[in-house]
Amino acid sequence: MSGYDKLIFELSSPGRIGYSLPAPDVPNADPKELLAAKHLRASPPELPEVSEFDVVRHYSRLSQLNYGVDTHFYPLGSCTMKYNPKLNEDMARLGGFARLHPLTPETHSQGALQLMWELARDLAEIAGMDAVSLQPAAGAQGELAGVLMIRAYHLARGERRTKVLVPDSAHGTNPASTAIAGYRVVQLKSDAEGGVDLTDLERNLDEEVAALMITVPNTLGLFEPRILEISEMCHAKGAQLYMDGANLNAILGITRPGDLGFDVCHFNLHKTFTTPHGGGGPGAGPVGVRAHLEPFLPTPVVTKTDDGYALDWNRPQSIGKLQAFWGNFGMLVRAYTYIRTMGPDGLRAVADNAILNANYLMKRLEPHYDLPHPGPCMHECVFSARRQKKLGISAMDVAKRLLDLGFYAPSTYFPLVVEEALMIEPTETESKETLDAFCDAMIQIAREAESTPQVIHDAPVTTPVRRLDQTLAARQPDLRWRPRGG
């Protein structure tokens, strides 16, 4: 239904209904008798009046305007858009999980608590950490929790450190989370190989530094070869080492943040552990720490006692809570299901195949696009369209053309240290056949850039809409539908 152009409000017809509610089975149901007029809404909200079928057809059609992993190769770098197993969905929908109230007495939520305790234990093993909190709702909140724990740790030792070092290749959430935690962000340069510039690190590393926050493998898809050195340098100055675990998929069972010297590390369950991305979320961002940071974990902590599992609220040094309840439990069920499905060998095979796929793809595309940092890469590779740019074809143009050829686009213009960046993460769940088809398309585009650039400039033409006017959207924000004449 690529021609379908309606909003649900535009299907509305006065008096039509799409709900089913019982008649009141209790006396005096009249709100006016129960509440003062000032509490009662004067006029109904302008919401659609549609039938259930209107709703089903509308959203079925809207869904068809999307590309998703289930229907398209989705090589969005840094996001690990792997297959989301259907079994995970069945498990998350079991009544005892999906219909469990968060404030149910612990005696009646032992299954959920056990699952959380076991998942935290497994994640700690996977990352080589001593304890894990499952509470953060996503990676960014995991970062905030991690930096706040580092902050609490220093304060507990009577140190008021003020700075956090973050490489220029870092994801935007790293500096943003650090700032919210009350630190000044100092940006470190990347060196020619794409790693942390040790001299720049040296220069900035003083007693004011609370932590160094880096991503492993980094956003260039590269493993920081001097990580152990870096870890020593930081710890020598009393700084903590934080690992952004968004790219953990690449090192499962190969090496562990804890063994690399990291004190804190967050996980993105919606990346490494197959919870679906849902069009932007929800995700889950558990955070793991070494023993010295354990006292500062968010409350409550799931513990195992002689008479079962429990929520431990008595954590005097805790940084407190990050969301109202215990974490994005529905996502935890999915991640737990996945880990149990794969087992240790399966998880290691995930990393191996993610790395293999990325390097294969890199090799095939290297002759056609500039590769600022030659491989071997880990789970993803970052090309630059600067060669095409000279022909007037930007990274964005390449992305749009890919849409016409039946593929979602790589991440573009990230990381910022690569001009015209095309950040490609194939993941281990895609087959060689799919990678080859994608590479053929990328190569075709490189050729078109030289021979027939106009088809690229015109792209996309097969999508429900063509290129959209971003400037207009920002200049005259239209952020909500209004009834005609309304």
Binding site: P45, S63, L144, A176, N353, P376
Partner: protein, 448 residues
């Protein structure tokens, strides 16, 4: 392994074209002494059937709210979830897509978010809403930070003790960094003590926060609080339950500058407390200070209507440490559930839900307080939730009723020692008179 497509033969072939003799070659950058030389210490892989058996066993230890009668609230509610929602959100094109960075291939998601923003604006009575934040509590914390910046750095937050204590804990965590001071305002008879609020608000106050309906189910005089707040030049933040706004006056009509809320009641499963839906709305003039993603309407090259992520200069991927928030992944799919839910209930359905919950809650309160020794703790008007004072330990009562498959309510002691004899009871439109009567019956036996 069924999730890993490449066969050994293909892996060899790929290594060959890469020019590597084995996968080890590709791992060279990893310091050998940091390599894990053993398999991860995890349980061995389970076959699908065995795993399902294991998971069912775990769920059997939990109180499925369809097997138990649920009177639990406190920020999560057992509301009616129409069947189509799960079917529609499960469509892979919605479910397995991500943030719509490529709008031309994401119009489905973008259009639903635009619909969602409109619905939230209508319900809250505000100008604009964002595409969602994590949950009600973190939304409230983000609102406090936004007020801090919008008031050019005022450093005090006045928060009513009627605000969900769990939310207050989250606010405390978020204001730690910017190091704002949180001043708690005491309650009168179930609602914020306005005189005390007046004393608290000063030129240093960045925001006043009340909850409507509040943690105890009571209805605050939001307008009066807003007037006090605005006299002090602070921003009025109201935390609300959108489910109530089909029936109750929207905070936007009561002087709110920022409205946040927990959207779980709008079609999102309880799921032991997450994922939830962080609702966030404000006034047009504050939109550039807003956290989170925003979708806007625009046109494509052919002049056709289309939708895009907009005003992104507020966000971390562009502004980095200067961003209005650190949020990236939000809860889009929960927002979609709410969108479909609100579409189904429509202009009048949410009001009906509110009327039913209101009536049933009052029916329950009346019947329960007929039990000797049981009384309403507060006199203020309430919506679907109320605090009961019991003659017996609430913890013991809860345990006893759980045996009869009734989840009686939330003992308030952990939240406030002064309420150690109180139980917080929530009654949604799903509770039948029969269930309520059974609850009354069971409680009357439990407290003698």
């Amino acid at each position: 392994m069924r999730y890993l497509p490449n066969t050994p033969a293909q892996q060899k072939e790929m290594l060959r074209s890469i020019g590597a003799s084995s996968l080890e070659d590709l791992l060279s950058p990893i310091p050998p002494k940091a390599r894990l030389r053993r398999p991860l210490n995890l349980a061995a892989a389970l076959a699908e059937g065995d795993l399902v058996r294991h998971m069912r066993a775990l769920t059997a230890l939990n109180a499925d709210s369809d097997q138990y009668t649920c009177f639990l609230g406190g920020g999560a509610y057992d509301h009616y979830i129409p069947s189509p929602i799960n079917h529609l959100i499960s469509r892979g094109e919605f479910f397995t897509a991500y943030t719509p960075y490529q709008p031309e291939a994401s119009q489905g998601t973008l259009r639903t978010i635009y619909e969602y923003q409109t619905m939230v604006a209508e319900l809250t009575g505000m100008d604009v809403a964002n595409a969602s934040l994590y949950d009600g509590a973190s939304s409230l914390a983000e609102a406090a930070l936004m007020a801090h910046s919008a008031t050019e750095g005022r450093e005090q937050i006045a928060i009513s003790r009627g605000v969900n204590p769990l939310y207050r804990q989250v606010v405390a965590t978020y204001v730690e960094g910017p190091n704002l001071r949180v001043k708690e305002v005491p309650l009168g008879d179930g609602t914020t003590d306005l005189a005390a609020l007046k004393k608290t608000v000063s030129g240093k106050t960045a925001a006043v926060i009340v909850q409507y309906p509040n943690f105890f189910g009571c209805l605050e005089d939001v307008q009066a609080a807003a007037d006090i707040c605005h006299e002090g030049g602070a921003l009025m933040i109201v935390a609300t339950d959108p489910v109530s706004l089909g029936l109750l006056t929207p905070p936007g009509a009561l002087g709110a500058d920022i409205v946040v809320g927990e959207g779980q009641g709008l079609g999102v499963p309880l799921s032991y407390g997450g994922p939830n839906l962080g609702v966030f709305a404000t006034r047009t003039d504050l939109v550039r200070r807003m956290p989170g993603r925003l979708v806007g309407a625009t046109v494509d090259r052919d002049g056709k209507r289309g939708f895009v992520l907009t005003l992104q200069t507020r966000e971390q991927h562009i502004r980095r440490e200067k961003a209005t928030s650190n949020i990236c992944t939000n809860v889009a799919l929960c927002a979609l559930m709410a969108t479909i839910h609100v579409a189904l209930l429509g202009k009048h359905g949410l009001r009906k839900v509110g009327e039913l919950a209101l009536a049933k809650a009052h029916y329950a309160a009346e019947a329960l307080t007929k039990i000797p020794g049981v009384r309403l703790r507060f006199g203020a008007p309430f919506f679907k939730e109320f605090a009961l004072q019991l003659p017996k330990s609430p913890e013991r009562v809860v345990k006893r009723l759980a045996k009869e498959k009734i989840l009686a309510g939330i003992p308030l002691k952990p939240f406030d020692r002064s309420l150690k004899d109180c139980l917080l009871v929530a009654v949604t439109e799903k509770r039948t008179r029969q269930e309520i009567d059974a609850f009354v019956q069971a409680l009357s036996q439990a407290v003698v």
